[in-house]
Amino acid sequence: MLQIKEIDEIQKRLLMEVADLHEVPEGAYNIRANGEAAARNTTANIDIISKEDGSGIDIRIKPGTKKESVHIPVVLSKSGLKEVVYNDFYIGEDSDVIIVAGCGIDNCGSQDSQHDGIHRFYVGKNAKVKYVEKHYGSGNGTGKRLLNPGTEVHMDENSTMEMEMVQIKGVDSTKRETKCDLKAGARLVVHERLMTHGTQDAYSIYNVSLDGDGSSADVVSRSVARDKSYQKLDMCILGNAACSGHTECDSIIMDEGRILAVPSLEANSTEAALVHEAAIGKIAGEQIIKLMTLGLTEAEAEEQIINGFLK
């Protein structure tokens, strides 16, 4: 086990934003700060091992592990730092765990800071995983805050994965790609929340392959594009068996924001039941007026509507 290293105030604030961590978390954790491991804890059931080539970590969860959690937040507070990290999760059969990942970047300098985290999940039979990933950027430097998460999820029979992906503030550019394949009886639920502002751009790409009979996926994205930001939401579900899939992109557009939503379905089996929904629109005027009749100003009303929408 490593001792916790010095973590500065900015890093502490970032940790709070991305992992709701006020102090050292319970259970297994690995905290990465400015490109180095700052702290690590393993438990009897959850092991965290650095990859030999130093490119990331392996998280191994023993079969049957119940009600345990793993926190693996990453924080960057140094300008100009660029890193690519590979984290592989091996989740044992019949386990039931919560995994909290997240990345916070504070860039006050003039150079770009970038973190590309590649997460690969191998979810064992009947295992149940709740995965929470939050991305956050702060700092008023001219250097950009760039995050390009890649997520791969391989789900074995009758496993369940619930993913909560949140990026609300401060990340200048992001390209998030999520690929999932599901065997028989596996169930995937994704809730994505995305907000862009300024001149940010965000690409969110999902490719979910339902390969086994009885597998199902529900991918729901809610996003808000403000100022001059741009979003492309590309969500594809492939039905290759007797499965059910649903995608939903629901977006609010404001100011001069732009959104391209590309929901797509591919059925390769007559037994596949696939549905997609997509809607983009500005905040309804009557919603603002209703909240104004409760005494809120127009700006306060907008804020409440967006907060609710992204909750």
Partner: protein
Amino acid sequence: MLELQNISFDVAEETALGSEQKEILNDISLTIEDNTFVVITGPNGGGKSTLAKIIAGIEKPTAGRILFDGKDITSLNVTDRAKAGISFAFQQPVRFKGIQVLDLIRLAAGRRLSTADACQYLAEVGLCAKDYINREVNASLSGGELKRIEIATVLARSTRLSVFDEPEAGIDLWSFQNLISVFEKMRARIHDSSIMIISHQERILEIADKIIVLNDGRIAANGTKEEILPTLIGTASAVEACKVLTDK
């Protein structure tokens, strides 16, 4: 409490011959006293909802002045009128994705009410609070449920003047019985405040102190319930009310 002076409202209407001004309200003057329960009634298209929206500040009158507690509020926007003490319940309540009933009641109250206090308002409008407090105010709620929540937000504000635009619209007959008792309770509790309801319903007209009949953008009658109600029974507006009821 509220005084409307010579309120008129016109809208531009596109016709085959081009745009022409259509008169919705014409020279409306009326006063609502403190501690009164006023019902505005009259045929559909007579200008009732427009009048309510002008009071709430959602529409601006083409001419005339509005005084609230002696202060000219004609130029105040919706927010400032709400802060001055006017509440408005929409005929068709607005839905919000993600905003929960509790959030909406807290926003209405303007403070962080405890869940128990917020539930109290739901109970008053006949909703079982624990079933609704954490529900989203979205399309999963029925028209009748939304109407009650809308009324609960106005109760939570407890302002000097509460305006309800056709609270019975979109409510089934069963829920309507409960709704009447909600308004009867409100009527009994009026204190330093007034209630104005736009309604076609005889049961609501019966609990009024005053009744104003709007027809074709003008005040056709204005007086106490005892003066006005007998003249309405069996007339065109009452027939209209029956029609509304049978349509539901």
